[in-house]
Subunit: 371 residues, 4 copies
């Protein structure tokens, strides 16, 4: 029962990897937003399989349809239903999986929880469910861009131990999209791609780090004490398949510093209160401070490998499993647009919450005689 | 508007550091739970100021009162209101703070958000608000212990660069509580304490890492796709003051491994399906797999330092701020019970959600003729 | 942003009357429930247009498809997406409506709220949106029947001033379904049908009362103080198009009685605590008491009439509107399955909430030494 | 677990009638609202016992304290905790009640649900819990008045069969408060008071109808399809102790009309789109249309009577119960401020929701080239 996200810009996703399709219903989208199906498709194309020679060779167009909530190219304020029908037929190649628990997949836990599972391709636990997130995120992102000129950019910073040099400023989308791994440092990207190909040749897999930058987030977003902005970002990122860690600002590395080195001094910059450093990562006390929000997400190596593995079947009998089929040896390039989509969903929801409490009634004048 | 947590075991906290008090209202607590005020007080005593010579010398008893929901020592199933009245009077020493934004505190962001703030001691942004969490967590923890023999233990693993050696099994509570820093490795603890004292002498501060172990969590808890168990743990931890990062299982370090090394093979151990390694950290696909859940939380150095710092005031004018007053040079020892409390709140809420969907109607027999 | 219902058995509906379709996504459905598309279709057939000669002659099959959450005829515990594609093309006959506010419709208020609306057939405000509710309700109902032998039956008690005599016990579904108006008293049903035909001949419309009986609801369901069972039933019923009133038990008539006549005495009946009368309507203090829950819902006359009406257009200019098209002269017969569906959704959600708090941890033994 | 209300202006109430106290925590209150404790006390004084010779003679001052969320007489935007400590000691006179189920009280259902209850004075099921609602409602009401000049007025329209003549416009607060029964028609009020005294002399009780008018509600509030404005009002009213029915606008009486008589024609009145009649009761399609919202609530006769009644005890044995103690022979006069408070809570929450989705992003310009 955890398939809904957001308090005000609220999405409900559905679908299994090899069922009839996947999709999302969005409730709470502001009315009057121009929206074409192409804008959503564009983001889905960034996550679809088969987009490059380092992703799974599975071919799926992942064509999205808008079923409701949009009229004459403009949102109505009513629920927006977005569907992507599955093309891939139910594979017979997956038969063994029905009886076997693949290591570090969700086969066992889904059975433990629900008493059953749709085995083909992971069913609901497949990363295919993120299609709904990316589709909804495309809309959230557009609204944020127009209302606040807010930019969200993510990229692959490290693959296994191959790391790009740190950037002074967030890279452009073009630079990120310029290569198959979505690393904005071309030389590093090349090495990452080589590594992925080498690992794939071994039938193995690797993970790495995605970094994200959220620019032009106005000060004041975030709802302490529980719904701090970074807390909701952490949840959003850890809700993605294959993620194992999240850090914002100075993160784990910041724990080696003393307070005198870690604190971000305030200055007055052209009439705006800014900080000279940004160890806080754009959030203080759970609320955005107007600086760039930057965070990092750890992705483990893909659980599917084309090697022999020891495991057990549903009856608890030991079994030797040989992975087969088409898979991503490294999820990172396709995860980049998903990270961006989740960030957009978190931010727009927080923007709406902030406005409802703190802006809606701001201009109300209370006479001093009330006191 | 983010001062409520949990879907079914739902808490609402309130209070400012120098207002009349702090507290919590719990809705959804199971009825029939024996509960004495001492059990709650005991946990609060673990987080209260002045408990050792490396925490703030502020003396506050933080005495809790049960105002409702408990009759003759047993919970009624109705809301439980817990209050702690503040003893510390509003300090005049804080006057300067009303006009000044302390670096890396929430002074600026609270004003940016709400247009005002209660300045004394940080107001709502003070870690004093965690009293309500610890009080509620004490109840959640007791229920989990009795219903599942579930154990939650956290401890300080690293202070700045002083790290304890890894443990084979979770430490006992006694071992953790044996020293002021709450590190279960006595020699390391001693060095940590020395470091904290040295840093305090400089008027500076430090951070570090808390590790937590959740034992005997049954398989099946967690609500993918958004409310994965680790996602909710990540949110809970990042909702704590001074946290900058979270990792579960292999975490960031796991991104250096290949899938063949990272995957946790399943085995049959005495009729139970278990894994031989635990890089997953007890969660797979967002659902507990019956292994120990372990995670790490990064705490930054305390923002309050007794040194001169450059900052600006509300008018944006540069100002030199000299920190004073009593503070914790390192938040970690007092954060240990808070981390445990939040883990308890996450787990009990998930237990209730899991039960409602997957257990409540499990024994219902559906005749095959229905199909 | 009010298109989601339920806390644990949670549904999200979408769709406009003349868009691509309507549907629902259900999150939180218990796994292991046998479910065929026919069971859902059967309930949709009870609400579809064109089913009799007193409903709108519009012909729509309203064929439902299950897109996810069900595998091999059994629910998986994952979200269930149900779609009904619209057949009726966008009518050109509705062109005038785009500019005109039909009296007592939602044309004006949707524009006031959202700044725009999909005008054809009422768009989102059309009763066509209840398809998603009926589809989800069919599943809830099945679970309640199997788990508790719980029966939900509604029927038309009064059309305008034509009222059926009171029943001693709830009627059978067969008796209700025996005639087009869904009144279980054949002679009254005949008179109601005649009245509807006469009113339709005038181009006018009428309303009336639907009564519902919920049998075998176990004692203990309902979540005071805000989510009382009757409060949630009231909300569910008033959320239906064309409803203006709700009463439970003795309702408005009970306000004429003295307490001595209104109170329901408790007795011991075969070892069960029961009441001899049921003015309470099966709920006391917001919680079911094991007696039959019965309530009544007032439906206003259909707003669409085939007569000249004075109104204004979007520019505020007075305009004479002549209704046309196919409509229901009386919504009651088609509203019966909708009332039942909403009752089922309320009850299952409350059952799950009750179990989560009060049953899940009931057998936990707490040693008395804890106290 | 139903002790929280509201989505954005969210309250959590707590407390039993004879425990330590009752109270409320409000999350989401806009910052910058001038708020004195007197403004809240004033509303509590309207509901407190012992205020006139037709209410219970129990004397309780119900003095409220603000514990958080307000600084220097202005709201901070952080949670506002309001406490009322109970003065009345736990009565020994209630001993019998612990073992006996009073007819039409919640004694039996609370035990059925929770397995236990606090018996004194009804515990959580006592109307004393409404203190928290009235306190929170006082704040909501103030904000609505200042932001929208929105007026909420309720009054007793009928006591048993004594009914006042209909009013053309809502009465003034002064007129309502001019007599003990809170009926704005002095002659009727006198008869009602006489009736209540006569019924009390018999040891019996009576009920009646409260009518409420909500004026200056802007068009556009309400969140179809589930959270229609009238649906949330219905829920709010049915969540009050002793209520059995709700109707808005033409209500049950409207079911006798034909559509041609029931529809509210639109006109242009001074540039505003208004209706000439108001059978809709100010809501169309679940959204306010700018007309006055008016509704009626049915209250049953008080369950406590000073007469012999047959019932059973916890063991199911028949027992003769003789009511004693101090009680209200008619709850209506004290229910008037409670109805108003709940209406205020519903309206402010809807105002905030409407703003978040439909107003916050309204001025965002989307260039046409986006399409």
């Amino acid at each position: 029962m955890g398939n809904q996200y957001g308090k005000l810009f609220r999405i409900a996703t559905w679908g299994e990897s090899h069922g009839n399709g996947v999709g999302v219903v969005i409730d709470g989208c502001p009315p009057g937003v121009p929206l074409s199906v192409d804008e959503i498709q564009q983001e889905l194309d960034r996550r679809r399989p088969g987009q490059s020679d380092i992703t799974t060779p599975r071919k799926e167009a992942d064509t999205v349809t808008i079923l409701s909530g949009v009229d004459q190219g403009v949102t109505l304020g009513t629920p927006i239903a977005l569907n992507v029908f599955n093309k891939d037929a139910r594979g017979t190649s997956y038969d063994e999986m029905k009886k076997t628990f693949r290591p570090s997949h969700a086969d066992f836990t889904y059975e433990a929880k629900f008493g059953r599972r749709m085995a083909e391709g992971g069913g609901r636990s497949s990363a295919r469910e993120t299609i709904g997130r990316v589709a909804a995120g495309a809309i959230a992102r557009k609204i944020l861009k127009h209302a606040f000129n807010l930019d969200i950019i993510a990229y692959v910073e490290r693959v296994q131990d191959i790391s790009m040099p740190p950037l002074e400023t967030p890279p452009s989308l073009d630079l990120v999209e310029a290569n198959a791994i979505r690393c904005p440092h071309p030389e590093t990207a090349e090495r990452m791609i080589e590594r992925i190909k080498a690992v794939r040749a071994e039938g193995d897999s690797i993970g790495g780090i995605i970094r994200a930058h959220l620019s032009n987030v106005p000060p004041g977003w975030g709802e302490p004490v529980f719904d701090r902005l970074e807390a909701d970002l952490a949840k959003a990122m850890l809700s993605l398949p294959a993620t194992k860690g999240f850090e914002v600002g100075s993160g784990f590395a910041g724990t080696y510093l003393k307070g005198s080195a870690h604190n971000d001094p305030f200055i007055n910059k052209d009439g705006k209160i800014r900080t000279t450093t940004n160890n806080s990562g754009g959030v203080q006390g759970g609320i955005s401070n107007g600086e760039e929000i930057h965070f990092r997400v750890a992705f483990k190596p893909t659980a599917t490998i084309i090697q022999k593995q020891q495991t057990v079947n549903r009856e608890g009998q030991p079994i030797e499993l040989m992975g087969k089929g088409r898979h991503d040896p490294c999820v990172l390039p396709r995860a980049v647009p998903i990270v961006e989509a989740m960030a957009a969903l978190v931010l727009l929801d927080h923007a709406m919450r902030h406005f409802a409490q703190n802006v809606a009634f701001k201009n109300t004048e209370y006479s001093s005689t009330e006191l």
